[in-house]
């Protein structure tokens, strides 16, 4: 109970700190937010009226206090750019990012963990070098360029995947929105055509994002596995005649999974921030594009709302990682 309260208190303080930093940075940038509302053609009187209506004439601490009070009531304010409540906008764009990030992390884990294990087992050999180069490419190749090349090859030339966007326009209004995850909504509606279309659109950006996660996860898996494979319990198991597959996958990987959970959780959280470039190349209307566009137009309510959500995502993922860590490692479980 006390631990839960402590966690909630720390979470609230973290989010408040995040809001404060974002808010004050947003306000000290020499951009007039009223310009975003009224436009370049507005007269000085019109701009003054907008500043008054937005509360920009009040002291910064008053503006911040009012904002925090509104957030506490669940009101993230209205976006200048979309004329929508920010909460409504985020509810619209975040599922797009969630769907993409989830598919991406699945690719990253399913590819990265086996590759990392394989590289560890073949340390210094061709396979290991190949995995290392794969990882290096994942770090060094600009995602924007790779995305474009992938589109040209798989979408235009080979026609293996659908193009940019989340779903074919033919299905755009065909599936009622329930979760905002188009694959899930398509399944709920029993509309297999829409599901197929959503998957076809999801495939390429998810593989691309997944590749970048894969690069990181495989490198970390290799490193964790190398550490485990040197330990005595592995030698002992091999000495007892336990099969190599069992030694690797059941014994060593299970122990390597403990730190790996944190790596995967933070990778997933990173993907949920929204990959702006991937979203731009694939016209994916996610939270990365939303926040970037808001930043460029001094739409501070949208920036703050988006930042708050991203912060909350990181906190939740840290918590989940902690819980999984405890579940996987008996040493860190509380003693009864």
């Amino acid at each position: 109970m006390i631990a839960a309260l402590r966690f909630l208190g720390a979470t609230a303080l973290t989010l408040l700190g995040l809001l404060a930093v974002t808010f004050f940075i947003g306000r000290v940038v020499p951009v007039d937010p009223a310009l975003a509302v009224a436009g370049d053609r507005a007269s000085e009187a019109q701009l003054a009226a907008v500043r008054e209506a937005m509360g920009l004439n009040r002291p910064l601490y008053v503006q911040f206090g009012r904002y925090v009070a509104a957030v506490a009531r669940g009101d993230l304010g209205e976006s200048i750019l979309t004329a929508n409540p920010v909460a409504e906008d985020i509810a619209r764009v975040f599922p797009a990012t969630l769907e993409l990030a989830t598919a991406g992390i699945v690719v990253g884990v399913l590819g990265g963990v086996p590759l990392g294990v394989w590289a560890a087992l073949r340390r210094g050999r061709a396979v290991d070098q190949l995995v290392r180069v794969t990882g290096l490419l994942g770090y060094s190749v600009p995602i924007f360029w790779l995305g474009m090349m992938a589109l040209v090859l798989f979408y235009v030339r080979l026609g293996w995947v659908a193009g940019p966007g989340r779903i074919d326009l033919a299905y755009y209004y065909a599936v009622p929105r329930v979760t905002g995850l188009l694959v899930v909504d398509g399944l709920l509606a029993g509309h297999l055509g829409a599901v197929r279309s959503a998957l076809a659109h999801l495939a390429l950006p998810a593989l691309l994002l997944g590749y970048f996660s894969l690069a990181y996860i495989s490198r970390m898996t290799r490193s964790f596995m190398l550490a485990e494979l040197k330990k005595e319990y592995v030698t002992a198991a091999r000495g007892r005649g336990v099969g190599e597959a069992r030694v690797v996958w059941r014994h060593a990987l299970r122990n390597a999974a403990v730190p790996l959970v944190t790596v995967v959780a933070l990778s997933y959280a990173g993907l949920l921030e929204g990959s702006v470039l991937t979203e731009t190349v694939f016209s994916w209307p996610g939270i990365g594009q939303y926040i970037t566009n808001a930043l460029q137009n001094a739409d501070m309510n949208a920036v703050l709302g988006g930042t708050l959500v991203i912060g909350a995502v990181f906190i939740v993922f840290n918590l989940v990682a902690d819980l999984l860590y405890r579940a996987l490692d008996p040493r860190v479980r509380p003693q009864r």
Binding site: P30, V31, R41, I80, L151, A162, P164, A170, F282, N297
Partner: protein
């Protein structure tokens, strides 16, 4: 080890299966009565014509709302009646009477009468959003708009301007988006706290145009459906979808693949790449926007007339037209874009570095000087700034570029904190006063004027030229008015602290099956009603 390899193969196989299974739902080309346009429309912040002032919004309004009159797309110097079948100007030059067509209806089914016209114009003035100034210029201000506008029966609107302005100016202002006619009964049914339906109209439609707004999801999709109650010829297209695709190359790929019919924001490189694509054609039209460099006259060096002139001899217009603005603009040296009444095509400047150096020496700057230039960090702005930086360096002017986000740069520019500023400016309504009032008018060069025209932003104090601009505005003879603007531009080219670089070209790439698609000089004249498609699905 075999186990690991098998697992890997299984994983890879599963991924491939998902990929290929997914492709079973491959996108078919859009059907014949659906037009899909890939376009970046993150500038749309409101769909209320009394508030919206953005490029994409203007296009939506041009197709979903109607005005009393509009410019002829084929001849932008002429006006054609839309809701008005006839109009007359009183002998004193201040009274106007518009006769409406009979039997007009909004998309809602409500009848469209002179009372709706009166309401719409008064509403735009009373809401006092940014575009309201276009109507304010006519004397339609908050305190006099109710008296200035009247009706004479259901089909006649009367308007009394504050001055005897040039009739072409008054009529051109009434062809702007802000003068769109809105459904009074529908708006009042959605009125909240006396807002004249503004909050509702930001996201909904209350017009009578050939299309109606079905859906707008910011930065995602904007869908127009055919207005079955439209009084004009029935559009061939049942639906038009604007698909927000920010990246130009992505737009090109989607066009090539046939997932979209039209791509709207292609770069010169993309357009070059499409030149040999048999399924694609390019359409382009000169647009009412120009690129220019402003020299802040608060800077003592830039205020020297010889330095101002030296800047104008630095630009290599041939290189500019052949590379940076190829397809998307043409070299230009006047503040009125081609197509506007009084536009001048005089191009006296060309690159002459020796002459620029001599002028700098005459100004006491034989070794040049250091200066900064604010510019938006987008293309083609950055490319033009970098090119100009190199040209200027050859004359000894060392420019340090200050790239910034649009709003940041604009904030500095409006506060006159720049030295040099490279940016663009588009006409707000299709009349020479729109740009003359921006570039050649500045009657209060103090720090807190009521408005901040471009001349003010560069601290160009021009009482005499401002009077000439006012005189041109009042000239009721259209030919003499046109001549007045030509003279204004002669003086502007000679003495202004502006280097006009180019006139923008609006360009779109479209699939050959799209017929009747033409871009107008302003975005609200990109008309969709005449568009049809041959081939494709049903």
């Amino acid at each position: 080890m075999m186990l690991g390899r098998r697992a890997l193969l299984r994983a890879g196989g599963a991924g491939g299966a998902v990929l290929l299974a997914g492709r079973g739902a491959a996108a078919a080309a859009p059907p014949r009565d659906l037009l899909v346009q890939a376009m970046a429309f993150d500038d749309v912040i409101s769909l209320d014509p009394a508030e919206a002032f953005e490029i994409a919004t203007a296009e939506v309004h041009g197709n979903t709302y109607e005005r009393l009159l509009r410019i002829e797309p084929g001849d932008p110097r002429r006006l054609a009646g839309v809701l008005a079948r006839d109009w007359r100007v009183a002998a004193d030059g201040r009274g106007y009477r518009f006769e409406l067509r009979d039997g007009l209806r909004f998309a809602s089914g409500n009848g469209l009468t002179a009372e709706d016209v009166r309401f719409s114009l008064a509403r735009a003035v009373k809401l006092d959003k940014a575009p309201a100034f276009i109507l304010n210029q006519l004397g339609l201000t908050r305190d006099r708009v109710d008296a200035a506008l009247g009706t004479d029966g259901p089909l006649a609107l009367t308007l009394r301007t504050s001055e005897a302005f040039a009739p072409s100016f008054v009529l051109n202002c009434l062809s702007a988006s802000v003068a769109s006619i809105m459904d009074r009964r529908l708006l009042l049914a959605h009125e909240v706290a006396g807002d004249l339906g503004h909050a509702w109209a930001r996201r909904h439609h209350a017009g009578s145009g050939p299309f109606l707004l079905r859906d707008w999801r910011a930065n995602e999709i904007l869908t127009l459906d055919r207005n079955e109650r439209y009084h004009g010829p029935r559009p061939a297209l049942a639906r038009v979808i604007y698909w927000h695709v920010k990246e130009a190359t992505t737009q090109r790929l989607m066009l090539l693949k046939g997932d979209v019919d039209v791509a709207r924001n292609l770069t010169p490189q993309d357009l070059d790449a499409l030149a040999d694509a048999p399924a694609i054609r390019i359409t382009a039209t000169p647009k009412g926007g120009i690129y220019y460099i402003g020299l802040n006259q608060k800077h003592p060096i830039l205020a020297k007339p010889a330095v101002r002139e030296a800047f104008k001899w630095l630009v290599d217009y041939d290189a500019l037209g052949a590379t940076l603005i190829r397809h998307i603009g043409r070299p230009w040296q006047n503040f009125l874009p081609a197509g506007l009444l009084g536009a001048s095509d005089a191009m006296p400047f060309h690159q002459d570095i020796a002459k620029a150096r001599a002028l700098l020496a005459a100004a006491g700057l034989p070794d040049g000087f250091d200066i900064t230039m604010d510019v938006r960090s987008t293309q083609p702005d950055m490319g033009m700034a970098e090119a100009f930086q190199q040209w200027a360096a050859r004359a000894g002017i060392r420019i340090r570029l200050l790239p910034g986000d649009g709003k940041l740069t604009l904030t500095r520019y409006r506060a006159r904190k720049h030295d040099l500023y490279l940016g663009d400016w588009s006409v707000d309504y299709w009349d020479p006063q729109s740009n003359a009032g921006a570039f050649a008018y500045n009657v209060d060069n103090g720090e807190n004027p009521a408005t901040k025209p471009i001349a003010w932003r560069n601290a160009w104090d021009i009482p005499a030229l401002s009077r000439e601009t006012e005189a041109a505005l009042m000239e009721r003879d259209t030919a003499r008015r046109a001549a007045a603007y030509v003279r204004l531009q002669d003086e502007f080219r000679r003495s202004s602290p502006f280097v006009i670089l180019s006139q923008q070209t609006q360009v779109a790439a479209l699939r050959r099956e799209v017929q009747g698609y033409a871009l107008g000089p302003t975005s609200d004249n990109n008309l969709l009603a005449p568009v049809s498609k041959s081939g494709g699905g049903a």
